[in-house]
C-alpha cells in the first residue's frame, strides 16, 4: 500500500521545536558534575528569546495566511501566532520573576526552568493545532510539567499538597477530556477540527445524541483546566500552595492554553450547532463569575484572593467563547495578553513582599507599603487597577472588547451580567490599595530586589499601561487584524 512521507515546514514548527530543545538543554545543563548549578537560568532565557524571535519571523512570513504542516497536525494562523506570543511573554516574565526566588529558597534549578520551558512548549502545541490528538498530547505535556512545578518546593507541605490535588483532579479531568474526544470521533468520523466543522454544518440538527454527550465531556475537561465553576474547587488550594512565581506562570499560561483549545473546538468546529451548547456555557459563565466574586470578597490571603479573581476572569473569557464571532477570538487573545502582564506583575510583588518561605502573603501584610517602598506600591496599584478593569489600563480594554463582541453576537443580557460582575470585582481589588496607601506601615521587612525582578516588574507595568494606551495597534500588529 502507498506510503507517503508528511511534508514538514520547519519554520512553522520552529518556535515549538526551539523551546523544546532548550527545555531539554536546561534540564541537563551542568548536571554532569553532580552538584547544583546556578547558570541554568541563562540557558532558559536564551531559549525563550530565540523562540520569541522565531515567532516574530513566523508572524512576518505567514502574515494573514493560514497554512498547515506535518500532514495537517500543526497550523499557523493568527490564533496560533498570537497565542505563541502570549505564552512566550508569560515564560519570559516568569523566568525573570523566579530568579531570586529559586536562589533564596534553594529550589532545583535545572528541573524548575526545564519544566517551565517544556510546559510552555505544551501550551504552544495546544494553540497551534487543529487535530484533537495533538490538542490532547499538548494538554498532557503542559499539565504534567505544571504538576511538577506546583510541588517543586519539596520541603513545604502546602506545596506538596497543591501538587497532589492538582495531579489527581487534573488526571481525572484529562480522562473526561479524552472520553469526550472519542465520542466526538464516533459521531463525526474524524479528529480534524476543520473536517469536523464541515461535517457538523452539513448534517444540521440530525445528529446522534453521542455528539452532545461528547461535547458535555469536553466541557467538563476544559472547565477543569481553565477553572470554571463548578470545576474550580482545586484552584484556591493549588494557587495558594504552589510557589508564587509558579502560580503566576500557571494562572495565565494554563488558562490561555485552555482557552485557545476551547476556542478552536467550539468556535471553529462546533459553531454550526451553537444553539445546542450556548445555554450550557452561558449558565457556566454566570455561575463562574458570581461564585468567583462572592468567594473573593471574603479572602484574607492575597494569593487566594488572586486565585478566586482568576476564576472570575475565566468567566469573562468564557463570555468571549459564547460570542463566537471573529471579534471575540481577537478579544480573547487581547484579554489574555494583558492579563499576562498584570497578573504576573501582581504575583511578582507578592513574591517580593512574601519574603523567605512566603511568610507574609496576607492582605494585611501589605499595610502601609506606600510609606516603605512607594514605587512598589505604585506598581501594585497599576496592576490591581488593571485587573479591576479601570481605564486607561489594559484590563479595561480587554473587558470592553469582550463585551462588545458579546453584544455584536446578540447576547446583550450576558453582557449586562458581565458588567455588573466587573463592578462587584472592583471592591476586592481596591480594598488592598486602600490598605497600602492609607494605613500606617507594619513591621514587615522587604529585602532588596535583584535586577531581574526589577526588570520584570517594570516590563509588566509598562506592558499594562502601553497596551491600554494603544490597544488597536497591539491588535493589528500582534494579532494580525
Amino acid at each position: 500500500m502507498e506510503i507517503k512521507i508528511p511534508d514538514i515546514n520547519w519554520l512553522m514548527a520552529s518556535p515549538i521545536v526551539i523551546l523544546s530543545i532548550f527545555g531539554m538543554l536546561t534540564l541537563i545543563f551542568g548536571i554532569a558534575k553532580g552538584r547544583h548549578t546556578k547558570k541554568a537560568v541563562f540557558v532558559a532565557l536564551l531559549g525563550t528569546l530565540l523562540a520569541l524571535v522565531s515567532n516574530f519571523i513566523c508572524l512576518f512570513e505567514f502574515w494573514q495566511k493560514t497554512n498547515s504542516t506535518f500532514s495537517e497536525m500543526l497550523t499557523s494562523d493568527y490564533i496560533s501566532t498570537g497565542f505563541n506570543f502570549i505564552f512566550l511573554t508569560v515564560t519570559l516574565l516568569s523566568i525573570f520573576v523566579s530568579h531570586k526566588y529559586v536562589q533564596d529558597e534553594n529550589l532545583p534549578e535545572n528541573e524548575y526552568y526545564g519544566m517551565m520551558l517544556l510546559s510552555a512548549a505544551g501550551m504552544m502545541l495546544m494553540a497551534s493545532t487543529t487535530n484533537l490528538v495533538v490538542v490532547f498530547t499538548g494538554l498532557e505535556v503542559m499539565s504534567i510539567a505544571l504538576y511538577i512545578l506546583a510541588g517543586i518546593k519539596r520541603n513545604e507541605l502546602k506545596s506538596l499538597e497543591a501538587a497532589l490535588k492538582y495531579f489527581l483532579l487534573g488526571a481525572f479531568a484529562s480522562g473526561f477530556f479524552l472520553y469526550g474526544i472519542s465520542m466526538l470521533y464516533g459521531a463525526t468520523g474524524t479528529l480534524d477540527l476543520k473536517i469536523m466543522a464541515e461535517i457538523v454544518s452539513k448534517n444540521g440538527t440530525e445528529f446522534p445524541m453521542i455528539l452532545m454527550v461528547g461535547i458535555t465531556f469536553l466541557i467538563v475537561g476544559f472547565g477543569f483546566k481553565v477553572a470554571l465553576a463548578p470545576f474550580h474547587v482545586w484552584t484556591p488550594d493549588v494557587y495558594e500552595g504552589a510557589s508564587s512565581p509558579v502560580t503566576g506562570f500557571m494562572s495565565v499560561g494554563a488558562k490561555a492554553a485552555g482557552f485557545a483549545a476551547f476556542m478552536r473546538v467550539f468556535d471553529v468546529a462546533l459553531i454550526s450547532i451553537k444553539t445546542d451548547w450556548i445555554d450550557v456555557l452561558a449558565v457556566l459563565a454566570i455561575l463562574t463569575m458570581v461564585i468567583g466574586n462572592i468567594l473573593a470578597l471574603q479572602q484574607t490571603n492575597f494569593k487566594r484572593l488572586l486565585a478566586y479573581s482568576s476564576i472570575t476572569h475565566a468567566g469573562y473569557l468564557l463570555l468571549g467563547i459564547i460570542a463566537g464571532n471573529e471579534l471575540s477570538s481577537q478579544a480573547i487573545m487581547f484579554y489574555l495578553f494583558s492579563y499576562a502582564f498584570m497578573n504576573i506583575g501582581a504575583f511578582a510583588i507578592i513574591t517580593l513582599v512574601g519574603n523567605k518561605n512566603e511568610q507574609f502573603v496576607n492582605v494585611t501584610d501589605f499595610t502601609g507599603l506606600a510609606k516603605k517602598k512607594p514605587l512598589l506600591a505604585f506598581l501594585l496599584t497599576i496592576f490591581l487597577f488593571s485587573l479591576a478593569g479601570i481605564p486607561p489600563m489594559a484590563g479595561f480594554f480587554g473587558k470592553y472588547f469582550i463585551f462588545s463582541a458579546l453584544i455584536k453576537s446578540g447576547a446583550t443580557n450576558l453582557a449586562i451580567i458581565g458588567v455588573l460582575n466587573a463592578v462587584v470585582g472592583v471592591y476586592y481589588y481596591l480594598s488592598p490599595i486602600v490598605l497600602v496607601w492609607m494605613k500606617e506601615p507594619n513591621e514587615v521587612e522587604i529585602n532588596d530586589t535583584n535586577p531581574m525582578l526589577k526588570f520584570a516588574l517594570i516590563i509588566s507595568a509598562l506592558g499594562t499601561i502601553l497596551i491600554g494606551i494603544f490597544p488597536s495597534q497591539v491588535m493589528s500588529f500582534l494579532f494580525q487584524i
Binding site: L27, S71, M73, I148, M209, I210, M212
Partner: protein, 161 residues
C-alpha cells in the same frame, strides 16, 4: 460465537471492576484490577485491535500493576485503614445516573455502525504505517511526555541535598 466470548469477557471485566472497588484489602483490589485488564485485552482482540491488546497486557498488566503493588508495599497499606464513608450512597446514585445517561446515545448509535468488512485491522504493521506517516507529530510529543514523567518521578523521590 463472538457474542458468547464477548459476554464472558464483559462479565469478567465488570465483576473484577466491582471487586476492585469493594475489597477492603488493597492487594486484592490490585489483583482484581489485573484481571480486569486481561478481560479488556480480550475485548480489544474481538475489535481487531491486536496490537493494542498486546500493549495492554505488556504495559498495563505488566509494568503499571507492578508499580501499584510497589506503592502498596511502600506505604504498608493494611486492611484496617479502610474507613466507612456514608457519602458513598450519593456517589453510587450519581454513578448510576451517569451510566443511565450514557446508555441512550449508545443504543441510538446502532443505526450508524460501520459494516464488518470495512473495519480496519489494527495489527502492528498497519499501526506502524499510520503512526510514522500521518501521526509522526503526536509520536514525538509523546516522547516529551515520557521525558517529563521521568523528571517528575525523580524530582519527587530523591533525597534532600
Amino acid at each position: 460465537m463472538e457474542l458468547a466470548i464477548f459476554i464472558v469477557l464483559a462479565v469478567l471485566a465488570i465483576s473484577s471492576a466491582v471487586v476492585v472497588i469493594t475489597q477492603k484489602s488493597p492487594v486484592y483490589s490490585v489483583l482484581a484490577l489485573v484481571s480486569t485488564f486481561f478481560a479488556l485485552a480480550g475485548i480489544y482482540v474481538l475489535l481487531n485491535a491486536y496490537f493494542l491488546a498486546m500493549i495492554q497486557i505488556a504495559v498495563y498488566a505488566g509494568a503499571i500493576m507492578v508499580l501499584f503493588l510497589f506503592v502498596v508495599m511502600l506505604l504498608n497499606l493494611k486492611e484496617q485503614y479502610y474507613v466507612e464513608n456514608p457519602k458513598k450512597i450519593i456517589g453510587g446514585v450519581l454513578g448510576l445516573a451517569f451510566v443511565f445517561a450514557l446508555l441512550f446515545p449508545i443504543f441510538e448509535i446502532e443505526k450508524n455502525l460501520v459494516p464488518e468488512s470495512q473495519m480496519p485491522v489494527g495489527d502492528a504493521y498497519n499501526i506502524g504505517i499510520r503512526l510514522f506517516t500521518d501521526y509522526v507529530f503526536p509520536f514525538e510529543i509523546a516522547s516529551i511526555i515520557l521525558l517529563i514523567a521521568t523528571v517528575g518521578a525523580i524530582v519527587f523521590t530523591k533525597k534532600h541535598s
